[in-house]
Point group: C2
Chain length 338, copies 2
Amino acid sequence: MSRQVTISEVAKLAGVHPSTVSRALNPATRSVVNEKTVRRVKSAAESLNYVPNIMARGLRTRLSMTIGVIIPDLTNPIFPAIIRGIEGHLGPLGYTTLLADVDGDTALEGHAISSLVQRQVDGLIIATGVEQSSLVKALAQSGVPVVLVNRGASETGYSLVTGDDEMGIRASVNHLHQLGHRDIVHIAGPQSFSTSRGRADAIRRACDDRSINLKTVYAEALTVEQGEMVTNRLLTESNRSFTAIQASTDLLALGALRAIRQHGLICPDDISVSGFNDMPFAEEFSPGLTSVRVPLEEIGIEAATQLMRAIKDGRGSSLVVTLPVSLVIRASTGPATI
Amino acid sequence: MSRQVTISEVAKLAGVHPSTVSRALNPATRSVVNEKTVRRVKSAAESLNYVPNIMARGLRTRLSMTIGVIIPDLTNPIFPAIIRGIEGHLGPLGYTTLLADVDGDTALEGHAISSLVQRQVDGLIIATGVEQSSLVKALAQSGVPVVLVNRGASETGYSLVTGDDEMGIRASVNHLHQLGHRDIVHIAGPQSFSTSRGRADAIRRACDDRSINLKTVYAEALTVEQGEMVTNRLLTESNRSFTAIQASTDLLALGALRAIRQHGLICPDDISVSGFNDMPFAEEFSPGLTSVRVPLEEIGIEAATQLMRAIKDGRGSSLVVTLPVSLVIRASTGPATI
DNA sequence: GTGAAAGCGCTAACAT
DNA sequence: ATGTTAGCGCTTTCAC
């Protein structure tokens, strides 16, 4: 491990003082240095293969140029899409993102937050829907700017970026209604997620408005397996009356598709299924999944934008940004059959 | 932004010297401190909400406890799986992973590498298959331990962790052969990826062994769109003779499924398709994709293990770890039809 | 335009 | 068992 080249070695080679090297290499202060000196320093740095030590710089400037992103499950394809949006926006600004996948584990989430704070992140984007006020409170104390994604901002005072769940659910229910469905099951996610609660509430209202008979069942996690299990339970009941399933999430919908297949039923001939998020590959499933398209990458971009604002302002005004969504109709929904 | 609580404020409150605080708070040196003092320091730290500054610590210890992971495309679901393996192994060891998604962009990759080196990562796992010796050379100079995933190690002297491509291709070709296929098309990935080359070579050999007629076509990227385009081209040709497609990657296979559908053909009745990687959701596609299961999470774990070794040793002996793979047969492959 | 000096927060020798 | 001292590599006043 070749020892690190420091700024003073560059200074020695260039025949100047270390501070001059610092000034010459920093674009912001370069103008103050003689042009010839800049060139000399630059070539010295290059020939020595100098790489600035960001930790030392950060210690001095109190800026890490790092932001933390906490997500519940990297394996759920909606998050890579959001992350791509975040990184695409922040990378060009010189920020590196520190990713923490907490795997749906709340204890881990607390750990991740403190680990990121220790690492002096300049800001935090949190996309884990769990509302655990103790965590958020601890965070507030640290003073690190935070933006929430897909998560209740009620108590927090942080900005929130999210898709328009109400609108999405309404569009999907409307679509099912038009296809003749009058008896729908909603597979809701864990009610500790604000998103799950919001969608469950939205579908309640939407069905009431249209006098659709609604039954809500609850999955314990937003996974294919849970969707499968819950749907299996539904289909095993003797007197099935529903003709369509609206899942809170594509992953749950996918589980529903599996269960329907296992029971020898055909989607959408026997049962229609509609998802939420329009995750990558939703189109490729069997059958292609009707879903509410949420602009995931835009959500990431918007979250990054809000975070930059919060960092500049010292503390963000708790703003709620709701992005419009749209229904994508594919093969998994069709006319109701009694 | 409440100013950071430092170790000396804790020291003052606890009535001890800063270095004692440091010793008391560090598990490795705690034993050397009086038990009562430890308690006093701990409660002082807690009451002040003290959070150690990892940058300052790293500056002193020359350890960042951070490792960098460079991947070509987070959006490809095989990478989250690998990352999960890496983080699962490294997190408990106190390491944080800095993720760089370079989006298949080689220039960006260079940027990412130097950005990670600047950030003093203690090690690097690189999963971008491109062999660009200039990058690797620059890296070698920095002295940072590196482990490669799914990437040619030929020149580099770094350890490499990968699935057994030869074995996987052989199993898949064998399966197709048993189904009566004697005329196969291989959709290869860009030949700048060592993985793509390796699989193309492997299928060449496998088909020669079994006197299967092989035609290889090349995609320009490992994406669904490319797979679709290439397959469309194949199907538009007047005299189609092949009965099966072996793709270098599930994403390419998925594109092939799309194209086949667009041409009004049925998979596997008209054409069989087999993929590689067994990516998440491969089972859910339409039809469920026969594929070679690569133990993605294990690859991540193994890469992390190798990296830890390399960090300990100062420099890893360039080891090649090949993990066994297996064929998962689903609905996309069936008997050959002339 | 450049040098000198101080210090970010922490830990590791060394001293007591 | 604890305090003293120095310094990791960098930037930023303040002089000149």
